[in-house]
């Protein structure tokens, strides 16, 4: 039976999009493999490859980059995954500097950068310039956090950078929406209504996320034990909280009310990460974490590849002046925000002062990425009101700034962290791990040798000769490790924490195995696993607490780590 022509055309469009997505994912996978060999941040490599893809024929990658695709489809998984790992306990301790940076810093950034752009870039009206200031104030920690993890930066610095980024995404989005509404011919603006709208947007969004997150965490994740259904519920929560907040006015017939979808996702993710995951079975927890890691990887890859595809090098060159103005503006603003607000916070909370060295990292590590790009790409919906030239200028400035921060700041931040002495994996710790790894590998070799001998495939003389060699190497490496620990006795505490973590995990695996074999009931597994999870969380707490130093403290400004 023949299908209607329109349906055939739609299916063809769908297939084209599917092919394009498959192609982009394949490219992302190749890039992910390549960056393992060359030490380059994944996002940086993606943008560079994306720039190369822009030279492909126009119809080679057929994806309609709409505001909805970016904001409603790609942004929620990025934010939800990022919040799942944020401990409320840790965030609470540094909530003051995080909120100061996210709220005051973003507002300051929006207006100062907006002022620069309105003053120095031809043709960009004031409100559109503030919208740009807002979108470019959203920091993206993905590339920086990857470095933090690889070189062992303190958890406090990580939480400061991640926390600022999560909340400033939401604040930037709200200011962006308000500023855009005030832009264009015939639009009106009043400070009072803007503040009112900001408060409703921000707190309404947070409220929606907190309520939905609480319901899902306390009622569903706690009482249901099915990793597939629970994962599906978390997907519904991430996208649903975004949509409910964004469409709140339409759903409840309140035409003027708009709530922040981004803040709703952030709040929902915090709820699931801090309440929901604690109440689930280990299997569900693992499934959820793996699923969201994958979802964020896909979303992040698509955003950065689409960014590369949208940039035309010639446009960057044509608007180089505007890009330079934007770059100067964001650096000056970041300087004022980080050091200025850092100083104010130091006066407000002297015992929780953010060390100056942390501030250096927060200044230079203020990379811009997925959210800025997403908001800039969403400007395609504003062409009629702002004009094609203004939209194009704002997008090119965004791309220029993101490229600069990723390529210049992103590639130098690791060196800065090491130079400031903030890398918690000093040479002696790496050396200890290397020696331990050798012993671990040799022991595995010796075990395998014994297995081969026991199975009768290796006759005794050869087995004994090889085993002697192995044992000799093992004894020598064990002695070297002992020597190393005699020189650096403090490493023994790290070894203890690592060994205790491994043994608790082994206990947890044994329980799961016992449940699989029917030796213990599911409720016993849940109860004992929850207890082991508490002990694993306790070790993390103890590790962080130990990093605060000894009984006699160095001053916060001198201390490298305050985990």
């Amino acid at each position: 039976m023949d299908q209607p022509a329109l349906l055939v055309a739609q299916e063809a469009g769908l297939l084209d999009s599917e092919v394009s997505i498959v192609l982009l994912l394949a490219v992302a996978a190749v890039v992910a493999v390549a960056v393992r060999r060359i030490r380059l941040p994944y996002t940086v490599a993606l943008v560079v490859v994306g720039l190369g893809l822009a030279f492909l024929p126009e119809d080679a990658i057929a994806i309609d980059v709409s505001a909805d695709l970016i904001l409603a489809v790609l942004v929620p998984p990025l934010l939800f995954e990022a919040t799942l790992h944020i401990s409320w306990g840790r965030l609470r301790r540094d909530l003051a500097p995080v909120l100061l940076l996210a709220l005051v810093g973003t507002l300051l950034g929006a207006f100062v950068v907006g002022g620069f752009v309105a003053g120095f870039v031809d043709g960009v009206p004031w409100a559109a310039a503030v919208a740009f200031g807002a979108l470019i104030s959203a920091t993206d920690p993905v590339a920086v956090i990857a470095f933090f993890r690889s070189i062992g930066v303190s958890k406090r610095l990580t939480i400061l950078v991640e926390g600022e980024s999560l909340f400033n995404d939401g604040v930037a989005f709200v200011v962006f929406i308000i500023a855009l509404a005030a832009a264009g011919p015939g639009a009106s603006f009043s400070v009072g209504s803007a503040i009112g709208q900001f408060v409703i947007d921000a707190f309404g969004g947070l409220g929606v996320g907190l309520i939905l997150g609480y319901i899902v965490s306390s009622l569903i994740l706690k009482n249901l034990d099915d990793h597939l259904i629970e994962t599906a519920v978390s997907v519904a929560l991430a996208f649903g909280s975004y949509l409910l907040a964004e469409e709140f006015g339409a759903i409840f017939d309140l035409a003027d009310v708009h709530l922040s979808g981004i803040l709703a996702v952030v709040a929902a993710g915090l709820m699931v990460g801090n309440i929901g995951l604690r109440n689930t079975s280990p299997t569900t927890r693992l499934t959820l974490e793996n699923f969201w890691e994958f979802a964020a990887f896909v979303a992040n890859s698509l955003v950065f590849l689409l960014l590369g595809l949208q940039i035309h090098i010639s446009e960057l060159w044509d608007k180089a002046g505007a890009v330079l103005v934007a770059l100067a503006a964001i650096q000056v603003t970041r300087l004022v925000v980080v050091y200025g607000l850092g100083t104010i916070h130091g006066v407000m909370q002297p015992d929780r002062k953010v060390p100056r060295r942390y501030q250096h990292v927060m200044f230079w590590g203020g990379l811009r990425g997925a959210i800025s790009v997403a908001l800039a790409l969403s400007l395609v919906a504003e062409v009629d009101r702002l004009g094609e030239e203004v939209v194009s200028t704002l997008q090119v400035m965004t791309f220029g700034v993101v490229l600069f921060t990723l390529l210049v700041q992103g590639l130098t931040i690791e060196r800065l962290i090491k130079r400031l002495g903030l890398a918690a994996k000093p040479v002696e710790r790496v050396e200890q791990q290397r020696r331990q790894a050798r012993i671990y590998a040799q022991q595995a070799g010796l075990d395998e040798l014994e297995r081969l001998h026991n199975q009768g495939v290796l006759f005794r003389d050869l087995y004994e000769a090889m085993a002697d060699l192995y044992k000799g190497e093992l004894a020598s490496d064990a002695e070297e490790l002992r020597d190393h620990l005699r020189r650096y006795p403090e490493l023994e505490t790290d070894m203890y924490i690592q060994a205790r973590t491994d043994t608790l995990r082994a206990e947890r695996s044994a329980l799961q195995d016992a449940a699989r074999r029917g030796l213990i009931a599911e409720d016993v597994l849940t109860e004992l696993s929850a207890d082991l999870n508490d002990h694993l969380a306790a070790l993390e707490f103890i590790e962080g607490d130990a990093r605060q130093g000894d009984i006699v403290q160095v001053q916060p400004d001198e201390e490298a780590d305050d985990g």
Binding site: W88, G89, R90, R92, R93, P489, E490, E492, T493, Y496, I497, R500, A530, D531, D534, H535, A537, A538, L539, F541, I542, G544, D545, A546, R547, Q548, G549, D550, I551, V552, Q553, V554
Partner: protein, 148 residues
């Protein structure tokens, strides 16, 4: 001559501090009471299960580390206890030292001795305050001057 209270937080100087406490106890024939102190700001918001796990894991760590250090240093005969308390540093150490009727207190510092070691005539305000509160000698173990 009373027992030694060795207050620790698990920081970079804690290994050295524990070792010095065990050595001094062996020299003087007294016991060591290892005291771990938890910061209430981070601890109190946690649920009961986590709080219990933190206290249990800290006690485990302190027992394991003390036994390991004693074995390394050939001090297996020294008797020691471990305790975990939540609270402000100075108040908690003072209260515990009075509770066990300590003869001296040992604390660790990541700073060099020049500006931290009370025992060497330095002026460490925290240690001075502690000494005044409890009325026993307070010694600061530092990375460069472990007092042995």
């Amino acid at each position: 001559m009373g027992d030694i209270v060795c207050a620790i937080r698990g920081g970079p100087g804690s290994y050295q501090t524990r070792r010095v406490a065990l050595q001094r106890a062996a020299e003087r024939g007294v016991n060591v009471h290892f005291l771990s102190i938890v910061d209430p700001v981070a601890y109190e918001p946690l649920h009961e299960g986590e709080q219990h796990a933190i206290r249990a894991e800290m006690a485990w760590r302190d027992l394991a580390m003390a036994r390991s250090i004693a074995a390394h240093a050939g001090l297996d005969d020294v008797r020691f206890t471990v305790a975990v308390r939540v609270g402000a540093l100075a108040d908690t150490i003072s209260a515990y030292a009075k509770e066990v009727e300590a003869g001296s207190i040992l604390i660790g510092s990541p700073r060099p001795a020049a500006d931290a070691a009370l025992a060497d005539g330095g002026t460490e305000p925290f240690a001075e305050e502690l000494q005044q509160n409890v009325g026993v000698n307070v010694f600061v173990v530092t990375p460069d001057k472990p007092m042995d």
